[in-house]
C-alpha cells in the first residue's frame, strides 16, 4: 500500500500537475519503449466505455466494424505522395524476422488509408455497391520526438472510419456529419464542449482535400485537437484505383472520407475537468461511477453488511466499486478523489445508527446525507447533475476565454506567456508561411475556421492587411 503523494497545484505548474495526476490517478505507467504507455484499468475502462457508446453512433450511420492488418508494406505507403511525406519520418519499420532480413520492408500502421484503399478497390465495382462504410478500433504507431501520456504517445488506440462513395457531395456530407457527431459525443459523454471547424491547408491531414476538426480548450487555455474528419476526394482512389461503373455506365474514381478519435480523449478529460485533488471522470464513461467506502467496516459488521447490500443493489445498474479494506476512511476518500470517481458513498457506523449514509460529489465535493433506502433512486439524477455541471463549467470557460481581435499586438500579448492563454479569433487571409511566422513569434497555431462564428463582415487580415471574410481560431496547442 503506497501513500498518496502530494499533487502539484494546477496554478503552480499545470504540466507537473498533469504528470502527477496521471500517475497517482492509477491511469498509466510508462512502457519500456520510448513514448509507449500502459493503460491501467482506470484509463482503459474509459476507453472501453467510449468504444461501447461510440459503436452505437457508428451503427446508427450504417457503418460496419472490421479489422485490417497492423503491417503495411512500405511500398504501399509510398503510393499517395502527400501521405508518405506526412508520415515517413515517424514510421516504425520491420526489416528483420528473427535473424533474417526481409526482402520487403513493412511498417506498423500510422493510419490505414492505404490498406482500406486496397480493400475498397477489391470490393467496389458498380455504383450499386456504394457507399461502403467501415470502421476499425485499432492500435497505431507514430514515432514521436516529444511524448506526453495520452496526449502524444508513439502507440495509441483509436477508431478510424473509412468510407467510399459514388459522389463527392455524399462523401463531403458524411465527413461533415461525422465531425458533428464527434462534437455531440464529446458533450454528451465526456462533458467536453468543442469548437467545430475546418483546418487551414497547412494543418490538414496528409492526403486529404479538407480536414474538419473539433478543438477542445484545456484548463490552461491551450487547445487540444480532439477528433478529425477528412474529405479525401479522389486522392486515394487515384493511388489505389478504386473505380466503379457509374449510373451512366462509365468508370469513375470513388470519393472517400476518413475520421478518427483516439485515446487522446483521455488526456482531454483529465485536463478539462481535473482539479488539485486529482482527476474527475465524467460519469457516463467512468470505469467506476460509484465508490462505496466502508468507514471501519472491519470493526463494525453492520457497516460491512450495509455496504455489501448497497453494492449489490446499485451494481445492477451502475459501475460500483466497494472498498472494504481496513485502510482509514480518509485515505480511502483521498484515493477515490484522486482517481476521479464521480460519486462516493461513505457508509459509517454513526450514520448507520440513524439509517443514513453520506454521498460525496467529486465535482463540487458537496456532502449529501440521505436515508440509505433513498440512495438507489438518487443516483441517476446525481450523476446526470455531475455531468451537466462539468459540461457547464467547461462551456463557461471556453466562452470566457475565447476572444475576437483585429489587432496583432493584442494577439501577441495574449501568447507572450502561458499565464492567461486564450483562443483568439482573428481575420486571417495568410498562407502557410504566414502561419509559420505567427507560430515562430507567438507559439500559437491555427486551430480551425469555425463553423459557428458570426462574421462581422470583411475585415483586415491581421498579417497581410488585405480585406477578408476568413476568420481563424488561433491557440497554443498540445
Amino acid at each position: 500500500m503506497k501513500k498518496l503523494d502530494k499533487i502539484t497545484p494546477q496554478n503552480e505548474d499545470f504540466s507537473r500537475w498533469y504528470t502527477d495526476v496521471v500517475k497517482q490517478g492509477q491511469l498509466m505507467e510508462y512502457g519500456p519503449v520510448k513514448g509507449t504507455i500502459v493503460f491501467k484499468p482506470n484509463s482503459y475502462g474509459i476507453w472501453e466505455n467510449i468504444q461501447m457508446e461510440f459503436n452505437k453512433v457508428i451503427r446508427s450511420k450504417g457503418v460496419k466494424n472490421v479489422y485490417l492488418p497492423v503491417l503495411i508494406p512500405l511500398s504501399y505507403i509510398e503510393k499517395e505522395k502527400d501521405h508518405v511525406k506526412g508520415f515517413a519520418p515517424e514510421l516504425a519499420t520491420i526489416t528483420k524476422v528473427g535473424d533474417k532480413e526481409l526482402n520487403e520492408y513493412s511498417v506498423i500502421r500510422p493510419t490505414s488509408e492505404v490498406l482500406f484503399g486496397e480493400l475498397f478497390a477489391k470490393e467496389v465495382n458498380s455504383y450499386n455497391d456504394l457507399p461502403i462504410m467501415y470502421n476499425q478500433w485499432a492500435n497505431v504507431l507514430r514515432w514521436e520526438k516529444t511524448t506526453n501520456p495520452f496526449l502524444r504517445t508513439s502507440e495509441f488506440l483509436w477508431q478510424e472510419g473509412h468510407t467510399t462513395h459514388a459522389t463527392a457531395i455524399e462523401a463531403r456530407k458524411l465527413s461533415r456529419t461525422m465531425i458533428k457527431e464527434y462534437a455531440k459525443f464529446l458533450e454528451k459523454y465526456l462533458a467536453i464542449p468543442t469548437i467545430v471547424g475546418k483546418k487551414t491547408p497547412k494543418e490538414k491531414f496528409a492526403g486529404a482535400v479538407t480536414t474538419y476538426t473539433i478543438e477542445a480548450m484545456m484548463k490552461d487555455g491551450k487547445a487540444l485537437q480532439s477528433g478529425t474528419s477528412h474529405y479525401l476526394g479522389q486522392n486515394f482512389a487515384k493511388a489505389f484505383n478504386i473505380s466503379f461503373q457509374n449510373k451512366d455506365n462509365k468508370q469513375e474514381l470513388a470519393y472517400q472520407t476518413s475520421w478518427g478519435v483516439s485515446t487522446r480523449l483521455i488526456g482531454a478529460i483529465i485536463m478539462t475537468h481535473g482539479d488539485d485533488r486529482g482527476i474527475i471522470i465524467p460519469p457516463r464513461v467512468a470505469p467506476t461511477q460509484i465508490d462505496i467506502i466502508e468507514v471501519f467496516g472491519h470493526k463494525h459488521e453492520n457497516v460491512h453488511t450495509a455496504a455489501v447490500e448497497l453494492q449489490k443493489t446499485l451494481g445492477r445498474k451502475w459501475r460500483v466499486n466497494l472498498d472494504a479494506s481496513s485502510k482509514g476512511p480518509g485515505f480511502k476518500a483521498g484515493q477515490s478523489e484522486i482517481q476521479g470517481t464521480p460519486l462516493r458513498i461513505e457508509v459509517g457506523p454513526r450514520d448507520l445508527e440513524e439509517g443514513i449514509v453520506t454521498l460525496v460529489r467529486r465535482d463540487t465535493l458537496e456532502k449529501i446525507q440521505m436515508p440509505i433506502d433513498e440512495v438507489k433512486k438518487q443516483i441517476k439524477p446525481l450523476l446526470d447533475d455531475i455531468h451537466n455541471n462539468l459540461l457547464t463549467s467547461a462551456k463557461a470557460r471556453l466562452e470566457e476565454k475565447t476572444i475576437y481581435t483585429e489587432s496583432y499586438e493584442e494577439f501577441k500579448s495574449i501568447f507572450k506567456d502561458d499565464k492567461n492563454l486564450k483562443f483568439v479569433i482573428v481575420p486571417f487571409a495568410g498562407n502557410d508561411k504566414d502561419e509559420e511566422m505567427i507560430k515562430r513569434e507567438t507559439l500559437a497555431s491555427t486551430r480551425c475556421l469555425p463553423f459557428k462564428f458570426e462574421k462581422p463582415g470583411r475585415r483586415k487580415c491581421i498579417i497581410t492587411g488585405q480585406l477578408t471574410n476568413r476568420f481563424v481560431v488561433f491557440a497554443k496547442a498540445y
Copy 2:
C-alpha cells in the same frame, strides 16, 4: 454484385472447401503482408460478440482489462530463456524509424508475459497487493511459415489474461479454472465441445511449468487447439523480479498464470459447423442472427412494408439484417446460407396474402411457415434450438471419433491417410523424442492428457512398452 461461386464439397477436399467458404462467406480478404488477413464484418462481428460475452466471464472472476504496448525491447524478451527460445525465429523486429537506425531494437509482441512481468514488478510489494489479475484484448504477431486464414495467421487478435498470486496453489488453481471457463464458453456460445487436459512437456508454452488446453475436433477429424492456460510458476517472477513481502515478512517470488483464446476460434466455428452450402455461425455469436429477405419487395409494396415492420420488431432484441434489394429471392437465400446466418425469414407476396411468412433454419434447412404475428415469440426458442442442435451434432461426432487403443498398429492405420481421422487415446509413457518419432511416422501429435478419462488401470505404453498410468490423446492437428 458478384455471382456466388461453386463451393468445393467437404468430402471432395476439406481444405479447398475451407478456402472457398472463408472467401465466399464474406469473412476475410488476404492482406498484402504474408500471413495477414482483413477481418470483414461477418468475421469481426463474431469476434466482437466473443469479446462482449467473455468480458462478462472475466469480470465475474475479478479480472480487469488493461492495455500494454505493442512494442517490446528485444532485450526484454531475452530475459526468460525458454521463452525467447520458443519465440525468437518468429519475432518481427523494428530496426529503423524513417531513415534512422534504432539503438535498441524492438519487436512486435508475440505475447506479453514480459511486459506484464515488468508491470507486476512495479505493482507488487506485499501479499496484501495480491492477487493482481489483468487481461488485455490485443493484436499479436508471430511470423509463421505456413499460414491459413483464422487458423494460423502472422497477426491475430486475442485476449491474454495475466495474473500474479501469493501462492503456487492459488495460481495453479486459477490456471485450471480458466481452462474450464474456456471449455464452458465454447459450448455455451460457440456450440463447440472440447477435450480439456494438460499438455505434455514437449507441447507446453515456452516459459510455462504446466500448460492446460482445450482441444476441439474439426469435421475432418483433425484437432484444433482452441485455448490454453498456463501455470507459469515463478519463471517470469525470477526473470522480472516480481517479489513481495509474504505473511512471514520475508521476500518471496510471486506465482503467475497466463491464458488466452484468439481469432482462431473463428476457424473453429467454420470447421465445426459448416456444410457444403457454406458456414453456419452459432446464433449467440452471429453478427447477423436473422436475415429478413424480401421476395420481390420492389414490386410488392406490402412485402416491403411487412419486412421493414418485422425488422423493427425483431431488431429490438436480435441482430437483424434486411435485404430489400431487387435481387432474386434464390440468390438472397443462397447468400444468407453461405454467410452462415442461423435463421432467415422470407417475406413473399403469396404467403403474405395468408398473413404468413417462411422461416428457414440454416442448420437443418427446415422451412417453417407461421403467422407473421407469431414470429416474435418463436425467435428465442428457434435460435436456442439451432444452438443446441449444432452442439449436439458436434458432441456426437467428437464422441464417435474418439477411440481408445493399446495397439500402435491400429494407431498407425488411423493416421495412414486423412480419410477417417480420429482422436486416439493411448497409454503413453514416452518422452519428447518418442513424440517426435510418432509424429514422423504418422503426422499425429499429442494433444493432451485429458482431465476426464476413465483410466483402465496401468497399461503398456504403445511405444516404450513400460506399464503406465498416463493416457494421452493423439491427433493430426491444425
